[in-house]
Symmetry: D2
Subunit: 362 residues, 4 copies
Amino acid sequence: MSSTYGENLKLSIFGQSHGPAVGMTLDGIPAGLPVDFAELQAFLSRRAPGQNAWSTPRKEADAPEFLSGLLDGFTCGAPIAAVIRSSNTRSGDYADLTDCPRPGHADYTAQVKYGGFQDPRGGGHFSGRLTAPLCIAGGLCKQWLRAEGVEIHAHIYAIAAVKDLPFDDLHPQTEDIGTDFPVLDPAAGEKMRAAIAAAREQGDSVGGIVECAVTGLPAGLGEPMFGGMEGRLAQILYGIPAVKGVEFGAGFAAAAMLGSENNDDFTMADGQVRTCTNHCGGILGGISNGMPLIFRAAFKPTPSISRPQLSVSLSRGESRVLEVHGRHDPCIVPRAVPVAEAAAAIAIFDLFLGNTQTNRRK
Amino acid sequence: MSSTYGENLKLSIFGQSHGPAVGMTLDGIPAGLPVDFAELQAFLSRRAPGQNAWSTPRKEADAPEFLSGLLDGFTCGAPIAAVIRSSNTRSGDYADLTDCPRPGHADYTAQVKYGGFQDPRGGGHFSGRLTAPLCIAGGLCKQWLRAEGVEIHAHIYAIAAVKDLPFDDLHPQTEDIGTDFPVLDPAAGEKMRAAIAAAREQGDSVGGIVECAVTGLPAGLGEPMFGGMEGRLAQILYGIPAVKGVEFGAGFAAAAMLGSENNDDFTMADGQVRTCTNHCGGILGGISNGMPLIFRAAFKPTPSISRPQLSVSLSRGESRVLEVHGRHDPCIVPRAVPVAEAAAAIAIFDLFLGNTQTNRRK
Amino acid sequence: MSSTYGENLKLSIFGQSHGPAVGMTLDGIPAGLPVDFAELQAFLSRRAPGQNAWSTPRKEADAPEFLSGLLDGFTCGAPIAAVIRSSNTRSGDYADLTDCPRPGHADYTAQVKYGGFQDPRGGGHFSGRLTAPLCIAGGLCKQWLRAEGVEIHAHIYAIAAVKDLPFDDLHPQTEDIGTDFPVLDPAAGEKMRAAIAAAREQGDSVGGIVECAVTGLPAGLGEPMFGGMEGRLAQILYGIPAVKGVEFGAGFAAAAMLGSENNDDFTMADGQVRTCTNHCGGILGGISNGMPLIFRAAFKPTPSISRPQLSVSLSRGESRVLEVHGRHDPCIVPRAVPVAEAAAAIAIFDLFLGNTQTNRRK
Amino acid sequence: MSSTYGENLKLSIFGQSHGPAVGMTLDGIPAGLPVDFAELQAFLSRRAPGQNAWSTPRKEADAPEFLSGLLDGFTCGAPIAAVIRSSNTRSGDYADLTDCPRPGHADYTAQVKYGGFQDPRGGGHFSGRLTAPLCIAGGLCKQWLRAEGVEIHAHIYAIAAVKDLPFDDLHPQTEDIGTDFPVLDPAAGEKMRAAIAAAREQGDSVGGIVECAVTGLPAGLGEPMFGGMEGRLAQILYGIPAVKGVEFGAGFAAAAMLGSENNDDFTMADGQVRTCTNHCGGILGGISNGMPLIFRAAFKPTPSISRPQLSVSLSRGESRVLEVHGRHDPCIVPRAVPVAEAAAAIAIFDLFLGNTQTNRRK
């Protein structure tokens, strides 16, 4: 299945970039959970475009309309459904888009898969715009997780070759994250903005890495094997366009460590079992161990660039040069920070709902 | 759900390390597919322990018995079920195992989740032994994919700090992989074995990275968003114990590239649409583009080491020193190579079965 | 999960009776399928209220707006999403509805399950109005099945004690079904209308049975055990409010037959394997045999009646008399006929999409 | 998918009638649940053949071997797996079985679906023998439901034209069910046995109806629409071979009632909300209302009869007479009684596990 996620909740995301609306349904949510609409809107605004110098100048309100699932500000047990209307969709002629696929985009694979019936306008269903309804679902789950004591914070870990400070994986410094441009080290942030500006000037783009910390998780969440936290999180994170790598804790660096270095010794602290280090990123055997959950997701540079590129004419079966015009983010990583948080919130709330093991013992 | 995978096929894996058997059921497989038992056994032997100097000296035959799903060497439409009997399970006293969790293992998280009812012997359901039934399912899927022209080959990309040559991502040199110790560069292989031997001498362990190439894939496989190839593959790969990172194509390195570098230009070759580079690892928008699919999975060092480690006594709530005795792989990466191939085969065959889009057009 | 159906397609239905809209998302549909909007609207009108003397005088347009999944009149591979706006929702005071549950309705069970957070207005998510989006999905599936040669026709088999002619299960007389009031025998239809009118005059209601025939089905559709056609159809049919019984072929009557009577002998006709009788209703072992698929669904009488009934005050924990006012269908069976067709179309199209067995052999 | 059931638990059933074993895996069960093996064996013996005069003289022990999921008599969180070895499988020549399908069996539909690769011996995966592993899973769920105060009892409601007393749907007389031949009215039981004996003498068979009562259910279990108790139960019940009809409460009879008759008035009894009648069978809006859950499942007569029947030679495309020899139950209804209980137990325990709504409020 394509755009459906979840075991205990069922998230279904729909829409095309230039269609009348994007939206989502979220089934399986218990009744009686409150919704703070102002907080949700603030969260959605972190993802919305046109907010600042380093993102696309398009303006989209990203104001969701709830069609189902709420009553008087609380969930009512019916599936939640919300849509965001498209403000300015211009159909225009899009024949050329299906004939000459843009490098790095899903144009070609969609053409092969859907045989020319796909919606090519603005990337159709493959557009980053589909992360807006993901953020509706994720913004709600974040609120409900906070009520359980679980906080989710992400920052820009890297843009191009510039790295931010990493999270302290024992005590993530989540309060130090800048609000305007979410980094821990303002100086690194300055260099990142410069890298974005430089790419923009060249008609080019840059990628980056988002790092996320989830604190307040109880131990015992997640399932063995394919239901492990890593796998559940990775599946939804790879649903975000442009993600090409996901790692947990020490991640790829763990491969170069000795067991005696990488193993996290246990200790007692305030009557709680804790680990002395956190190379495992809070997950052992797919199950949370009560330490901060740490993951990083790598985003490739935005494929939309204005420099000439080589492509092919599918109808004529020959190479041609493609020049793409229009307004594009030279770097989507800043806007991807809340999207990664949203994805994590959905995956973790899904595990909460299905935690029959813990529920039984209560 | 825990140990169940798949959308169009349903794989269910069961067993505990010291239980009477491990096994799997695989439902949803079409009838009429042939099974080459000798080839399957050869594949399983690549994973089996006790084969050589760098793995555990335990001997386990890993000979599967098929209980359902086959008739006269072909699938018959009934769910496939196979078990591997445990040869030498010694119960012994295992009270201490639940009181003093081993660092890096799932002992503590299992204790919290299952409240002391988990099977602690040899890691129970969290043991690497559960990859044996995964390889039964994967070995079958590999055979059936080969009949569709799809080949899956993996090699040891890194052990400790030693790196093998990477795959040529346009023309993976799959025929150069050594059979005994699967690397592309024999000299690197020598250094890796030395690193393993050194760790073993110290009572320590090393991790590594497995790289896998899937060739012969048709374009158009996979679904948008959460059903993308990356997400489907990552979910099953994270089901392998010790995996802490998964990346596709250029992966984390893509984050540091410019869009103009990372985008793979299209070209025509022999009447086929191809890309000039393959930084996307054969996947655009979650869907295969017909180029080799390339991924890497990072394995942390085996947590079982014989050096003293710090842990806690859960019953007494105090720190203590833990010394683990027994026979352990100082490095599971060589044996993980076929496991990664198996996981990829299952995920890809699952996508093949569900490719209603392509099926319709035939 | 609650309002989600399907294995190969994923249908998610949302909305509350008096909410801003009801709607559905339908994921997993191949691209390139045409949509005949006029035909869809005509199908939806068969279910819509206010059409005639025997249904509720409310007027609702039931005009769907498609938000996703279509381009130029064809499916485009993105999930299909459609909503029907509510025309006249009056909030009013609904405190009394949650305190005094209506007999035969879901008021009490919703109150227990959702702890008072459910939407009680007009039955909320339990309202028959939710069959409108079911008919959007089903109307689409009907069109696509017709392109495969599969036709779905239902009629009113019984209302109160009045019975229509049954379908000839070898050659269902689907062309004889009246369009205004769908029965095979106009005289029976007259008596049924009289029974409805009599109930209405008494402030009472009547139930009935819908019989459905699916013709043109290929043999080999469906899966063994829990994936059988009967089980898949029954699950979706029981999703229609008021259904309390479902049977296939001879159904309950088969229980009183001898094996030699009930078994359907095979014969050859025009080079095709056919059965001489069709007591199995076109399904053997859960799999279609190429004969007409016949099922019946029993609908209880509309629970909304205007006669005084006994209920309880939940807040005071004491019995009280309840009188319900408002506009209600004295019989929903005529409007349930297209709903049963829609449900069947969804279940069968789902099986078509998943028929990997047949797809492979093509 | 075929032989997989469940949302919160995942049941997978495997095996062929004459294969080496039948079995099941059951994933998603919390750890710490006790297993009473003697009680389980007693339950399985109720289904096992060869117990008495009215069933097949074959002797099969139906003694399950547990391969996974248990430790020291408690569930341990790993998936439960159990197999029942086949004692006497005789391969023989079975070419004729695929050429001349038996009326009323799945032979023909399996041949079409699986293209001749199906296992035809004894019905293969479509055999009633597959209800043995269903009873393992169901027998376990019954034990765990009893610990929650939920009891499941079924009796033979009808065989051929002979009817037992129905359950009192307010106070099911579950203690009056005979153990040897489970009926409420011993006189009816006598007539049923006579009907079975008469059919056997004629080389014929008879069908019947099983009625089941579930008592002690809390109100609030089940989900709206497709997740309703009726639909979940019907799906698993139709997974039992020979079931052709399922109804709840008044079922088909409700179709002929007035709303004022069928609606179950509410009242207070001992401080509890109860209904004065129970035509809804304990389910309103798909959700349990705390009254006894009542359902009936209609079984067609065993298709295996020894009288000559008309069939076809598939290879020659012509009609022929078929005579089936061997040992067959002239009536499977007595043995189906525990199978219906097992199916109900699985469906209800699945709903218990997923009851996140109720779990949250605890």
